[in-house]
């Protein structure tokens, strides 16, 4: 008896349109659409794609409660057993939408799987909730992605116990699963110690989280000609926090124009950061983001220019993967606009 599966794709792969259609609400069509055809063939008699949900990436990311309900209702309506989404490759919002769709279905007890490029932000956000198969960064890799997704999906559906990410070919989800080993823990510990003493390779049963190193850049030769940008994790945002950057476990960052602004004053700027007493930053946001002093230095010719945009997020329990991703994106923005140096302030 083939498992009944719903396939989730975005407006582009659903043939409705590109960026301009990213705001369409979710709709469902019987049978397969887009990459679903390839998947259906590969799944063969093990599973049948009974319907396809097509939803605009912006709509999904912006209306998660509604889209989540739509997905679960569709799964119920079609009496489905599982949901497969994407693959999204390196499309950021499509990756987040696919991850979210699987997350919503998994929360309602359904088996789920999707596929995307390992650097896609959707991975960090949703890998704990669903299996994700690594794909190339562009749709050119569709031919390679679908067979891997179909094979793993069939294995999960069959209820077979999965091994580690390395063995089965999915992205490590960082989820700890209990198991009963051959030996008692004490034996495993002493055996591991012997390998460590002899310098032989061993696999720790739990990896402590650690950070990597970056090689330092050379100094800026002439500051009086340099454009300097301000970036902060202290959460300084325009009044009202327009991009709703969360007080902890932030999911986004903001970039705000400060041309003509010579001082951050209370009532115009505030802090969105939930990790410290906000009194002092709200009284004078310069205490976190020194715009006033840098404007003086700019006027006195000590620095070439204060870059017109400052970037900000809330560094409070932020997922490391997200912070890394944003750092790369902001860095690229500044480099493309020939900024020579950045002052990073944090609280």
């Amino acid at each position: 008896m083939a498992y009944r599966v719903i396939h989730y794709i975005n407006q582009f792969f659903g043939g409705i349109g590109g960026e301009e259609k990213a705001d369409i609400a979710p709709e469902v069509r019987d049978g397969v659409a887009g990459p679903g055809m390839g998947l259906a063939k590969l799944l063969g008699d093990k599973a049948e794609i009974v319907a396809t949900i097509i939803c605009g990436d912006n709509y999904c990311v912006g209306n998660q409660e509604e889209v989540g309900k739509f997905i679960v209702d569709t799964l119920k309506k079609y009496n489905a057993d599982a949901l497969i989404a994407g693959p999204a490759f390196n499309a950021g919002r499509y990756g987040m939408a696919s991850g979210f769709a699987c997350s919503a279905a998994a929360a309602a007890g359904y088996t789920t799987l999707t596929g995307m490029y390992p650097e896609n932000p959707g991975v960090e956000l949703y890998k704990a909730n669903t299996y994700i198969v690594p794909t190339t960064d562009s749709a050119a890799g569709m031919g390679k992605a679908l067979p891997v997704m179909a094979a793993l999906f069939a294995k999960i559906l069959s209820g077979e116990k999965l091994g580690t990410a390395e063995a089965e070919g999915y992205i490590e989800r960082g989820v700890r699963i209990n198991t009963f080993y051959e030996e008692v823990g004490a034996e495993r510990a002493v055996a591991m110690l012997l390998k460590k003493i002899k310098g032989e390779p061993f696999t720790t049963e739990y990896k402590m989280p650690v950070f990597d190193r970056v090689t330092p850049r050379p100094g800026v030769k002439d500051l009086s000609k340099a454009t300097i940008a301000l970036v902060t994790s202290g959460g300084i945002v325009p009044m009202g926090n327009p991009d709703h950057i969360a007080a902890s476990s932030a999911r986004n960052y903001g970039g705000y124009e400060i041309d003509g602004v010579t001082d951050l004053v209370s009532g115009k700027y505030q802090t969105a950061h939930g990790g410290y007493d906000q009194t002092y930053a709200n009284q004078d946001p310069d205490r976190v983001l020194p715009v006033d002093v840098l404007r003086d230095l700019e006027k006195e010719g000590k620095i070439g220019k204060l870059y017109h945009t400052f970037y900000t997020t809330v560094g409070n329990g932020t997922a490391v993967g997200n912070a890394k991703k944003w750092g790369e994106e902001i860095g690229k923005q500044l480099k493309d606009n020939n900024v020579q140096a950045v002052i990073l302030t944090s609280t």
């Binding site: 050379p218 800026v220 500051l223 906000q278 002092y280 310069d286 620095i303 002052i343 944090s346």
Partner: protein, 61 residues
């Protein structure tokens, strides 16, 4: 520019300027406005000096 140097070191920052306190890294509410701006200027100038300097490894200025 951060108030807890060991944390900046552990995450791999290469040029680190220790600042005043977490709730107000570049200020101090107990100073008057002029005093606080002077403090902030001193810290930012230290940051510019650090940007100007070549460093081979993580350095606290």
């Amino acid at each position: 520019m951060a108030s807890i140097v060991p944390i900046s070191q552990s995450v791999g920052a290469n040029r680190i300027i220790p600042t005043v306190a977490i709730p107000h890294p570049l200020g101090n509410p107990t100073l008057d406005e002029k005093g606080e701006k002077a403090l902030r200027r001193k810290l930012v100038e230290k940051a510019l000096d650090a940007l100007h300097t070549d460093v081979k490894e993580q350095t606290v200025f």
